[in-house]
């Protein structure tokens, strides 16, 4: 029998026996970040493609949620800081090695960009809207004129944000479950998928919904593919990686992951969306809600499980 134990009474809160330094705030933050990234990317995408008129919800309505969600996400992050009064130190330096720094700065840019985007549609949304100051009206006019440019900026930053939500975790070599480069694309795809789901929920236009559903289906398939790839990678890896994978293959996260994330969060909504595309009647709120739920669960599980995994020595 092998036995390994602390004999000096080490029992630090949130560190022992299992690391649990990041609580519910971080998965929420990652979820909301990915969701906003998804919304903003497709708002930009259809604007660039010149199909803004046909995709009203995607371009005009859903983006209203983005800045709100981003601010909420930042709020969650702030909530999780242990030394809150010093949060401004984040913005005294740019640290290219640090995903956390990348995230702080990305949000610092994309949040105002999304606000500007929403502002540029204010008059379309509320015809009675008046900016009161002529200078603002002049700026608005300039933005509306250069909306495609803004859309490009927004798309690029949405991709950075989406990838970042995964890289924030995958940059931690110390946590074998996170330490895989698939996490970046996986979180990006998953985030875009939740963004699409939100837009689908908002959209009242069946045609728009159908378009978005088709894209969503592709994303779900990519996501499933990445998940399979993720586990193949783990199982071909070191003992620590195998141990990490085992948390999901018989370990304590098996049920929650495969049932809630994969089956209910991906396969079921994909099947339903397929049926819907084939013309069967499916409650229109069901597939996107399941995707959102699955995306949220995915982040909770990844953050929780990742903190348990560690190097063996």
């Amino acid at each position: 029998m092998n036995e390994e134990l602390f004999v000096s009474g080490r029992d630090i809160p949130n560190i022992d026996p299992y690391l649990n330094i990041w609580h519910w705030q971080i998965p929420i933050y990652l979820f909301l970040g990915g969701l906003a990234a998804g919304i903003l990317f497709f708002a930009g995408f259809y604007t660039v493609r010149g199909r803004g008129r046909k995709m009203q919800a995607t371009v005009k309505w859903a983006p209203i949620i983005a800045p709100i969600v981003l601010v909420l996400g930042l709020g969650a992050l702030f909530w999780d800081l242990k030394h809150k009064l010093f949060f401004w130190q984040l913005y005294t330096t740019v640290r290219l090695d640090s995903p956390m720094s990348w995230g702080a700065w990305t949000l610092m840019i994309i949040t105002p960009v999304s606000l500007i985007w929403v502002a540029s549609y204010m008059k379309e949304i509320f015809p009675w809207w008046d900016w009161k100051f002529p200078i603002v009206n002049r700026m608005e006019a300039w933005i509306i004129k250069n909306r495609v440019g803004l859309a490009w900026v927004m798309m690029i930053y949405a991709i950075i944000l989406g990838v970042y939500t995964g890289i924030l975790l995958s940059a931690f070599n110390a946590r074998p479950l996170w330490n895989t480069s698939i996490l970046g694309p996986l979180f990006l795809v998953s985030g875009f998928s939740t963004g699409l789901a939100t837009t689908i929920l908002i959209s009242k236009d069946p045609k728009e919904r159908k378009t978005l559903s088709r894209i969503d289906l592709v994303f779900i398939i990519i996501e499933l593919f990445l998940i399979v790839h993720l586990f193949m990678g783990f199982l071909a890896g070191s003992e620590t990686a195998i141990e990490a994978a085992n948390l999901f293959l018989g370990g304590s996260f098996t049920v929650s992951f495969w049932v809630f994330v994969v089956i209910l969060g991906l396969i079921f909504p994909a099947a339903l969306e397929t049926l819907e595309l084939w013309g069967y009647h499916v409650p229109k709120w069901l597939p996107p809600t399941m995707i959102l739920f699955g995306g949220l669960m995915f982040r909770f599980i990844m953050v929780e499980a990742g903190q348990i995994t560690r190097y063996l020595y």
Binding site: V7, S8, R10, D16, L19, L81, F87, S98, M100, F172
Partner: protein, 177 residues
């Protein structure tokens, strides 16, 4: 200059003196610790082996905590000692997640805290408190670049290992086996 520590697992009795000396020297709050002792037992009675390891921050050469810190609070000081500037730390926990040795903890005040190799003592030519208190003299500290330092001499003729070398952090705690 490269500060490092060698820990003789053949002599350590796991008494915890290094832990309590660190606590009183650095005013570490109760319930927390910057260093700790792991006991490892292998085998079946009566064919057994036992190893005590006095562990702490590895002051890694390739330190993930310094890299992932968004504010630069975690940084490298002279001789590769990894430190946290309390007034720069926002307590985001990224460095805690990044450490394969779980050597960092959130201080009740909010900032992240960890072993400093007692830099306030080292700068005055003293050893870290844990090294100076150890009754079995199983801790050796010093500058690896100095062939006559305590740590260099301890490593010279002995087999050693580092913890989780596969994490690639180039840790600077050497366990003599």
């Amino acid at each position: 200059m490269r500060y490092a520590m060698a820990i003789d697992t053949k002599k350590c009795v796991g008494c915890g003196d290094c832990v309590v000396a660190c606590q009183t020297e650095n005013n570490v709050p109760h319930g927390y610790c910057r260093d700790w002792i792991v006991e490892r037992v292998d085998g079946t009675y009566p064919s057994l082996s036992l190893e005590f390891r006095s562990e702490r921050c590895n002051h890694c050469d390739n330190s993930p905590c310094v890299r992932c810190c968004p504010t630069g609070a975690s940084h490298k000081a002279e001789g590769g000692i990894v430190l946290v500037t309390h007034t720069k730390c926002i307590g985001c926990g990224a460095c805690i997640e990044s450490c394969p040795y779980d050597a960092r903890y959130p201080h009740p005040e909010g900032y992240v805290d960890k072993c400093t190799f007692c830099i306030h003592r080292v700068q005055k030519g003293q050893n870290p408190a844990c090294v100076d208190v150890c009754p079995t003299r199983c801790l050796h500290f010093g500058d690896l670049d100095d062939p006559n330092s305590d740590v260099s001499l301890a490593l010279k003729d002995r087999k050693w290992k580092v913890l989780a070398p596969e994490a690639g952090t180039k840790p600077q705690l050497y366990f003599l086996t």
